[in-house]
């Protein structure tokens, strides 16, 4: 009957150096280099110009607060993005729910239907809406034919057009994360609720909906944050009173060369985006 001999001899033998650990780490170098030189550096430089251009100081930020143009753009952006997000939740949830509860074939079909616009070029889709929303476009045409309206509606170059267009483009960003969360909700929870006497509506509101919230939050975050930085769709479908932050940046840099103001606006946008990201991370992680 042997027992562990507790000798403390440290007989270190020749340990081979595992040949690949250090080598493998260097694989990140090319990508990291490109991103640091051609992304991190220029972005930081650009943002810094908000403090240094044309002279050192906070004048750009003061201009942001005092000049109505910028504040209006900021409020526009928040309002539009918020509205779009709300619509996406309202329209996206039922579709995500249907996808999650459909049989495999229907599900694949529906997800494909969501993916097709998702993968189409943003520009092409916005252009499609330009065609559809015009005074002589399809939507007005159909509404006139059906006798629902007497004169064509102005659906473009205003907020309605921007919202319709942006909801169309951002809806997949809500549906896709949401449906994958819904898929994972264990059916035994709702079965248990039913066995305990909960009618379907109650069961949905008290059991299913709370379980789906992380997915809703993720989708909301994605849609809202992306919407904040949107440029193409508001530019093409919106009117002069609907200018959003991204357009301001483009204008200041492209047309006026006012890097300081542009940098300040960009900094505000980036900070807002980051704060929201972190907030939602905090809200969804402890689950």
């Amino acid at each position: 009957m042997e027992m562990a001999a507790g000798t403390v001899t440290q007989s270190r033998s020749q340990l081979p150096r595992r040949p690949t650990i250090d080598v493998r780490s260097w694989l990140v170098a090319p990508a990291a280099a490109v991103l640091i030189i051609a992304f991190i550096y220029p972005v930081c430089q650009f943002l810094l110009r908000s403090f240094s251009d044309p002279v050192w100081g906070l004048q750009n930020f003061r201009a942001l607060i005092h000049q109505p143009l910028y504040m209006r753009a900021l409020t526009n952006t928040l309002v539009v993005s918020g509205t779009v997000t709300l619509f996406c939740i309202v329209l996206g949830y039922p579709l995500a729910y249907t996808i999650a509860n459909a049989g495999p074939r229907l599900r694949r079909l529906l997800v494909f239907a969501v993916l097709v616009p998702f993968w189409s070029s943003l520009l092409v889709r916005t252009f499609a809406w330009m065609v559809l929303l015009q005074q002589t476009g399809l939507i007005n045409h159909v509404l006139l034919q059906l006798g629902l309206i007497d004169a064509p509606l102005t659906l473009i170059y205003n907020r309605i057009g921007v919202v319709i267009g942006m909801v169309h483009i951002l809806l997949p960003f809500m549906i896709l994360p949401l449906y994958s969360v819904l898929l994972r909700i264990d059916p035994s929870y709702t079965s248990a609720a039913a066995s305990l006497g909960a009618p379907p509506v109650s069961s949905f509101l008290r059991v299913y909906l709370p379980l789906s919230l992380p997915g809703v939050l993720t989708g909301t975050l994605l849609v809202f944050v992306i919407g904040l930085g949107y440029f193409i769709t508001p530019a093409l479908l919106g009117g002069p009173g609907d200018t959003m932050i991204a357009q301001i940046i483009a204008m200041e840099v492209g047309d006026f060369g006012r890097w300081g103001i542009a940098g300040a606006v960009a900094l505000v946008l980036l900070l807002g985006t980051s704060v929201i990201f972190v907030l939602v991370q905090r809200l969804t992680t402890p689950r």
């Binding site: 009957m1 042997e2 027992m3 562990a4 001899t9 007989s11 270190r12 033998s13 340990l15």
Partner: protein, 365 residues
Amino acid sequence: MTSPILELRDVSKGYGSHIAVADLSLQLAKGEFLSLLGPSGSGKTTTLMMIAGLLHPDAGEILVEQRPITSLPPYKRNIGVVFQNYALFPHMTVAKNIAFPLTMRGISRDEVATRVHRALELVGLPGHGGRYPRQLSGGQQQRVALARAMVFEPPILLMDEPLGALDKKLREQMQLEIKRLHRELGMSIIYVTHDQEEALVMSDRIAVFDFGRLQQIGSPTQLYDRPATRFVAEFIGESNIFSGTVSATADGFSVLESAGARLRALASAPLPAGSRSVVSIRPERIALQAGDTPAGMENTICGSVSEVVYLGRSRKYVVRTDSGHEVTCLQQATSGSEPGFELGASVSLSWRPEDASLLPDTATN
């Protein structure tokens, strides 16, 4: 042991402040089936991985046939490994999986085909070569993993809890299969498991681990009848543990004073009088008799039955002693015997001193 095929000398491995394996020395004889047994985290898989070459010891040496292999990379060690989740290459057919080690060794294609065919027959899966792993059941995948690890005829085979994912019936079947292969092929096997029954069934010797340390190594009988530590006594099979103080030692036996009772037990490592210790006795070694016995006799305790569990071929009684201790007893049902004791019956328990072991009181939990 003359010329062990595998030897570990003072092997240690730690991760930061956590010690996975501490000063481990053991030997594997040629053709032996050795199990590494212990709870999760006790260091058995770490030990296995060090033997395979996938982990490096912080200290110590590993020798195969007297030659040190500690600095050899895994692909030069010629040791077969069956992984816990089988690790079958999903993009290769069963035949290609099994052929892989032969291809690595540059064996001719005809020879490879023959040996793969033979390996499949050996594990009972003839004709399955063209299938992909995902098309096979768990038990079949396990057998392919086994075939792949054996086909290049390694002198040593390591198995890391290979039957953990299988259901009970299948597991028992595979245990016999593996034993059969062991006998037929005469391989030296190290088998990691946390299931003590499995270890008892399959092994020539068992090495019990806890917290990275080897607690005891010996044959199943040795470990069962003569556990060396409290941990081993409780981990393998069931044990009743009585704590108390040593009062006397003579002729290889010691007497323990525990809650008013005097218990005489076999003491392999004698302890000085006055030291705290425990006595361990297996449930099936305890004899029950109705009624009280005169006080003062050794290895005798009185109590009343608090639970009866009918197990078919035996009955398990939980007896609460006068001092509040609960003792588990197992009594075989012999034909035409007493109907057994009822709940609340007064009984006295007794056993022979040779059946009890005196152990150091090192409760590791």
